[in-house]
């Protein structure tokens, strides 16, 4: 197997005022194609910082990051933008959708900046398909402020998927969602992973991490534990179990 992500002694130091914040202190890790990894850790342990580096949104202060074998720290702004557009789908902690723009247009956005020039009709088609994948086809015309948190998160997932990236990165994709919606999102991730997509996500919910295949735990900017998930949960079965339980207390029909 070939490593999609290779981190070699990656450091990130924020210079704010007089104090330097050493957010990531020498992280080394490899993530192979087809993996499904959860990064966990306490608040402030550097998870988001690391994810932003992996997502080519930010650069490491020290060390090397090889994405598909190329050292990303050497690339210029435009090249990084193209990588973000083509290779990586990023799902942000706070959705980061464009307000006053319909769900469909939000999903079309990455194609606007894509190198393979699709016709307007093709873009529409692909965006609609992506929305279908996350089960939101009928909400295509809604604006983000007309959607629930879970629905907005799904629009964000659809947007991350629309350029068919090999790597999906998600920073706390279930952070603001109830447990049922969280499991639904995990279901989407699991089926994407089964189709071969490499997924790295940040979470601090232990039970959510159990839907992945491998857990990395960070503390003070370092990876302190790297374990495969022993008893992996399946979103579909969990969801069914949850529905049965809810039916019992008449939460749903």
């Amino acid at each position: 197997m070939n490593a999609v992500i290779q981190l070699q002694e990656v450091h990130k130091i924020y210079h704010t005022g007089s104090v330097d914040v050493h957010a990531v202190r020498g992280v080394s890790a490899e993530i192979q194609a087809g993996e499904f990894v959860a990064i966990m850790g306490a608040s402030g342990s550097g998870k988001s910082t690391l994810m932003n580096i992996i997502g080519c949104l930010d650069r490491s202060t020290k060390g090397h990051y090889l994405l598909d074998g190329t050292d990303v720290s050497q690339l210029n702004r435009d090249a990084l933008a193209d990588i973000r557009n083509q290779k990586i789908g990023f799902i942000f902690q706070g959705f980061n959708l464009l307000s006053r723009t319909s769900a469909l247009e939000n999903v079309e956005l990455p194609m606007l900046y894509s190198k393979d020039h699709l016709s307007g009709r093709e873009q529409r088609e692909r965006a609609t398909n992506a929305l279908g994948t996350v089960g939101l086809a009928e909400r295509a015309d809604h604006h983000p402020n007309q959607l629930s948190g879970g629905q907005q998160q799904r629009v964000a997932i659809a947007r991350a998927l629309v350029n068919q990236p090999a790597l999906l990165l998600a920073d706390e994709p279930t952070g603001n969602l109830d447990s049922q919606t969280s499991i639904e999102i995990m279901g989407v991730f699991q089926s994407l992973n089964e189709k071969g997509m490499t997924i790295v996500m940040v979470t601090h919910e232990l039970d959510i991490a159990r839907y992945t295949k491998r857990n990395l735990i960070m503390r003070d900017g370092r990876i302190v534990s790297d374990t495969p998930v022993a008893q992996r949960l399946n979103a579909e079965t969990e969801l069914r179990a949850l529905r049965d339980a809810q039916q019992a207390v008449k939460l749903t029909v």
């Binding site: 949104l57 702004r77 933008a81 973000r84 557009n85 990023f90 942000f92 980061n96 956005l109 900046y113």
Partner: protein, 406 residues
């Protein structure tokens, strides 16, 4: 190409979201471009009006004024009584070859009245040749004659404004108008000319034989000026020279002394007039430039605000793969769209203003179509020039910083 189209769409949406702001921002451009278009229209109107005025002086005309312009820049009353006499005028016609017509002239302002109506107007004493030299035909009635001049008859030709003021709704021909209480019979009315470039009503005048003006109105024995017509344009300079010689001789001015009269030929007068209108055009152009710069700064300002407001949006776009160039283009297109909206509205309002002035002054204001193209290009350039800095600022944002921006 698709990318540009899509970017255009984004820019359009951003502008539509803030219609009032868009309009206010473009106000500077509207005024600037409007001023340019109005300026060109009025300038052209003024130019054609000046040309018409020069032409209306008559062809190949030399003007002789009493008094000297050169004497310390002061001149003793152009057209008023002065140093020229009827003998001078007759001498010019008789003795200078190439002179085909002269009109001795005396001008003043006076109160005139008819019935109970009063009016203050310009009184001109002229010869009957005046109407030919000036190519100013009588529209109704007839001119006075050489006989009227010889006998200093109390007859007059009036401009349209006099007819409107003193005889509203009546036929003025044959009516009596009292000039300084001397009754004159109206023989004819001149073709209306409308306003001059200086904004004067050219039809507000009454023309009587110069002898009548001298004896009966002003009670003077001298002329204000003499209009001389030469046969050919090439004769203008020799005729001018000969007039100077003849008048110096008549007035017994010894060599070395200054003339007590001034001779100007038509060309010189035309040059003076165009110089004046050039100054005017320059002034308007300066105003237009200033408003364009102010308009551009307005656009720059609002674009800077817009970039700050939309920092997060910029961050999102960059995070999903927009290059700096895409962001630059987006904001540049937005700025250009703004300035073009201003430009188009400005072209419209400029046309409106020049039409309004045309209606008020009866000048034929005309905006040549290439100026519409220029105005369009200038607006676009203003947008690019003043939009570039904010757009560049937006394009150089760091994706992570932009995303974190609250």
């Amino acid at each position: 190409m698709r990318r540009i189209l899509a970017t255009l769409k984004i820019a359009g949406r951003a502008l539509r979201r803030n219609k009032l702001r868009t309009l206010l921002t473009t106000l500077g451009m509207i005024i600037g471009v409007g001023a340019v278009i109005a300026m060109v229209g009025i300038g052209n109107g003024a130019k054609s009006q000046i040309e018409a005025q020069i032409a209306s002086m008559g062809q190949n005309v030399v003007l002789v004024f009493s008094g000297s312009f050169s004497r310390g820049g002061v001149r003793s009353g152009w057209g008023g009584a002065g140093t020229l006499t009827i003998d001078d005028s007759e001498g010019i016609l008789r003795e200078i070859p190439g002179v085909v017509a002269v009109s001795p002239e005396i001008r003043t302002r006076a109160q005139i009245a008819a019935g109970s109506q009063n009016w203050n107007t310009s009184i001109q004493g002229e010869s009957p040749e005046y109407f030919d030299i000036r190519q100013w035909p009588i529209i109704t009635g007839s001119s006075f004659t050489a006989q009227d001049v010889r006998s200093a008859n109390k007859v007059a030709v009036i401009g349209k404004t006099i007819a409107d003021q003193l005889f509203p709704g009546e036929d003025p021909i044959g009516q009596v108008v009292r000039v300084k209480n001397v009754p004159f019979i109206i023989l004819g009315m001149l073709t209306p000319k409308g306003l001059s470039v200086q904004g004067q009503d050219q039809d507000d005048l009454i023309i009587v034989p110069y002898t009548s003006a001298m004896k009966r109105v002003q009670r003077v024995t001298t002329l204000g000026s003499i209009i001389v017509q030469a046969a050919k344009p090439t004769l203008l300079n020799p005729v001018q020279q000969q007039i100077i010689e003849l008048l110096r001789q008549n007035h017994k001015i010894t060599p070395g002394k200054d003339d007590d009269f001034t001779v100007r030929n038509q060309q010189e007068i035309a040059e003076m007039a165009t110089a004046q209108s050039k100054t005017m055009t320059l002034l308007l152009a300066a105003i237009a430039m200033v408003s364009l710069v102010v308009g551009g700064i307005g656009i720059m300002n609002i674009m800077l605000v817009s970039v700050t407001e939309r920092t997060r949006e910029i961050g999102i776009r960059m995070a999903i793969g927009a290059r700096g160039r895409d962001i630059l283009l987006q904001f540049l297109i937005e700025a250009v769209t703004l300035s073009l909206i201003g430009g188009i509205l400005g072209i419209g309002s400029g046309f409106g203003v020049s039409k309004l002035i045309a209606a008020k002054t009866s000048w034929p204001t005309l905006v040549p179509s290439e100026w519409v193209v220029y105005a369009f290009l200038v607006s676009a350039s203003v947008g690019i020039f003043f939009g570039f800095y904010p757009a560049r600022k937006a394009s150089q944002l760091d994706p992570i910083d932009a995303l974190r921006y609250e």
